[in-house]
């Protein structure tokens, strides 16, 4: 149980490592989906190209968008982008970092699909069977076939059981040819993707590394802060509910006028504990105000105590403080007091 909890906490602690896991699973799922998918070339002149290219490109698009949908950071990014400035300024570099990291992860599953499709060869075979160079590979002077008739015959190359043009061009020849091209394309694509990934990774530190570290830190911070806020709200709701129900029972007790002579001594301290957890937010109006302020005006990124004492509760819309040069001022103030 403990181990499970530890693993779960580890995965949750860092949204990035969690997303790495999801990303790996999606890549495997993408390969599995391709294997399970029953490719079915229509073997008709114009449908072949549409079907083949559709199967090559539509599922990767679906997988790419799915990668975004499954990533919780999407709504976090949108929230961070759209929130009112309040006491905390917005940094576009952080937003850019989040977006880039999400996009990179979302690209893996589509790249796997495209590679697997090209290496397998069925899509290219289906899409380009009508464009096979018959003069090189086959017997063009076989009969005086019209263009349309030839296309109709060539379109049936992927469907071995209904292919009727063995004299024009043997199906194995065409299939081998197209498959060879498809596999060459596949390996080139894999090489290209790997090179790109390598370049991005190795050249990254050459450009603005300091700013990059800053963006990374604050992006993690925003993620963790959001999670902790949700957790705190859940805990608060639980304590609120417990105290509410307890008071309800006590009220009913008084109401029925038959007070039990031995109300247990434990209850006051237990109730006290629960009320402590409420952190002073004990009714609906205050809670709503808190939640609204959290969205409209997040607190500044400064944990110095004096700042908190100067503010009245959660007010903030009308007091936009300056940007992050505050810490310096705080240090000076501290020393001057001494």
């Amino acid at each position: 149980m403990d181990k499970f909890r530890m693993i779960f906490q580890f995965l949750q602690s860092n949204q990035e490592s969690f997303m790495n896991g999801i990303c790996g699973i999606m890549a495997l799922a993408s390969a599995q989906m391709y294997a399970a998918f029953d490719f079915n070339c229509p073997c008709l002149p114009h449908y072949n190209l549409a079907y083949g290219l559709g199967i090559l490109f539509v599922p990767p698009l679906v997988l790419f968008l799915l990668g975004f949908v499954m990533n919780n950071n999407v709504s976090m990014l949108a929230e961070e982008w759209k929130r009112p400035t309040g006491m905390r300024q917005k940094d576009p570099a952080v937003l850019r970092y989040m977006f880039c990291s999400m996009a990179q992860r979302a690209m893996i599953a589509p790249a796997v699909w495209i590679s697997v499709t090209l290496l397998d060869g069925k899509c290219i075979l289906c899409a380009f069977s009508t464009s096979v160079p018959v003069e090189k590979l086959g017997n063009l002077s076989y009969t005086g076939l019209s263009e349309k008739e030839m296309k109709r015959i060539l379109a049936r190359i992927p469907c071995k059981e209904i292919y009727d043009g063995q004299q024009l061009i043997p199906s194995e020849v065409a299939i081998r040819y197209l498959r060879c091209i498809s596999q060459a394309l596949g390996w080139c694509f894999v090489l290209l993707m790997t090179m790109l990934a390598f370049l991005v990774r190795s050249l990254r530190p050459c450009f603005t590394q300091a700013a990059f570290l800053k963006s990374k830190y604050w992006s993690h911070y925003i993620d963790i802060e959001r999670k902790l806020f949700d957790e705190t709200c859940t805990e608060h709701a639980k304590s609120f509910a417990k105290v509410c129900i307890q008071q309800f029972f006590e009220a009913m007790n008084k109401d029925m006028g038959m007070g039990h002579p031995h109300l247990p001594e434990k209850t006051p301290s237990e109730a006290g504990e629960e009320k402590e957890k409420l952190l002073g937010i004990t009714d609906q109006g205050t809670m709503n105000k808190l939640l609204k302020s959290w969205h409209k005006c997040k607190p500044p990124l400064c944990l110095h105590q004096e700042l908190f004492q100067n503010r009245n509760g959660w007010a903030g819309e009308s007091q936009p403080l300056g940007p992050v040069s505050l810490p310096k001022r705080e240090i000076i103030a501290y020393y001057s007091r001494v």
Binding site: A251, M256, G285, M287
Partner: protein, 342 residues
């Protein structure tokens, strides 16, 4: 026992992840049912379409209803919708939020069924083999209308003696399957785009109200769970005390020589007491009825309990979304307004 309790508490702490898990399980079950279902096209002119469309749409409806049933939140939402106002006003935004989250989760399994059915193609071929244009395919020329229809409707059945090794059948079958798969992928793409846009654009609209709605809907869920737990503990203590009293009363009637009952009086009062003064059937009934007909207002700041008298309850109907502090102050003075309870 401890482990079980810890697991139970973990699941209780986050019911959203439980719902997501159930939703995923239903989706997997849907795929499994589809693959193990023995599809059996009738291959008769009018029956094909009915059968094909039926298999495509009836199981998804059943799965959707299953998804609604299995989700605990649907009951919570209905209760919240139908309860009398009592001390707590109702907020439609919360009910809408819960409704939309329930429906989204329930829609996953039916959509998975439909997409798997389209990507597989059997339903589509069965339903629409009679509706294609026979001109496109060689092998249907020189036949009367009736014969063409008959042949076309036999396309889904590979084993039929008319259709075995018939190249036109294979061509038609491939054609229909291609359309079916294209339709399946298009629907999938459309849904993913919609989901993506919904996720991306959510925070652009009224985020503050959304955060509040989410908090209170979570609260309602938790409150209901904790109330049930409290009632369970109460019932257990009630039963415990009832049985102890019974044994003691038996003891006084029967001589000590015959029955050696251990002295339990001291222990009974030393145990943790969850009864909180509610000690007989009518009181319990009244409590449960009052919980339904008049939920307490959302204010736990007072140190002394509220003092309603008899059937009247002091209700200050504080609405969900109010942010003015006056209401909070008014709730302190519990006896200001009275409202006859049903």
């Amino acid at each position: 026992m401890d482990r079980f309790r810890m697991i139970f508490q973990y699941f209780q702490s986050n019911s959203e992840s439980v719902m997501n898990g159930i939703c995923g399980l239903l989706a997997l079950a849907s795929v499994k049912i589809y693959t193990s279902f023995d599809f059996n096209c009738p291959c008769l002119p009018k029956y094909n379409t009915a059968y094909g469309m039926g298999i495509m749409f009836v199981p998804p409806i059943a799965l959707f209803l299953c998804g609604l049933i299995v989700n605990r939140q649907s009951v919570v939402m209905l209760e919240e919708w139908k309860r009398p106002t009592g001390g707590r006003k109702k907020d439609l935004a919360i009910i809408r939020y819960m409704c939309s989250s329930i429906i989204q989760r329930a829609m996953v399994a039916p959509i998975v069924w439909i997409i798997v059915a389209l990507l597989d193609g059997k339903c589509f071929i069965c339903a629409f083999s009679g509706s294609i244009d026979p001109e496109k395919f060689a092998g249907f020329a020189n036949l009367t209308q009736m014969q063409t229809q008959l042949l076309l409707s036999k396309v889904p059945c590979k084993e039929d003696e008319l259709m075995r090794n018939n190249t036109s059948r294979k061509a038609v079958s491939r054609y229909l399957r291609c359309w079916s798969q294209a339709l399946g992928w298009s629907i999938l793409l459309l849904l993913i785009v919609v989901a993506f846009l919904a996720r991306w654009l959510r925070p652009c609209f009224n985020q503050a109200a959304f955060v509040q709605t989410r908090y209170w809907s979570n609260y309602i869920d938790m409150e209901q769970k904790i109330f049930e737990e409290t009632c369970c503990e109460h019932a257990r203590d009630f039963a415990n005390k009832c049985i102890l009293h019974f044994f003691e009363s038996m003891r006084t009637e029967i001589k000590l020589r015959r029955f050696n009952m251990p002295r339990r009086e001291e222990e009974g009062e030393g145990e943790a007491d969850h009864l909180q003064g509610i000690t007989d059937q009518e009181q319990v009934n009244k409590l449960l009825k009052t919980w339904y007909s008049g939920k307490p207002p959302l204010d736990v700041s007072q140190t002394t309990p509220r003092q309603p008298s008899g059937k009247e309850r002091a209700c200050t109907s504080a609405p969900w979304g109010d942010t003015v502090n006056n209401r909070w102050a008014a709730a302190q003075k519990a006896n200001v307004s009275r409202q006859t309870d049903v």
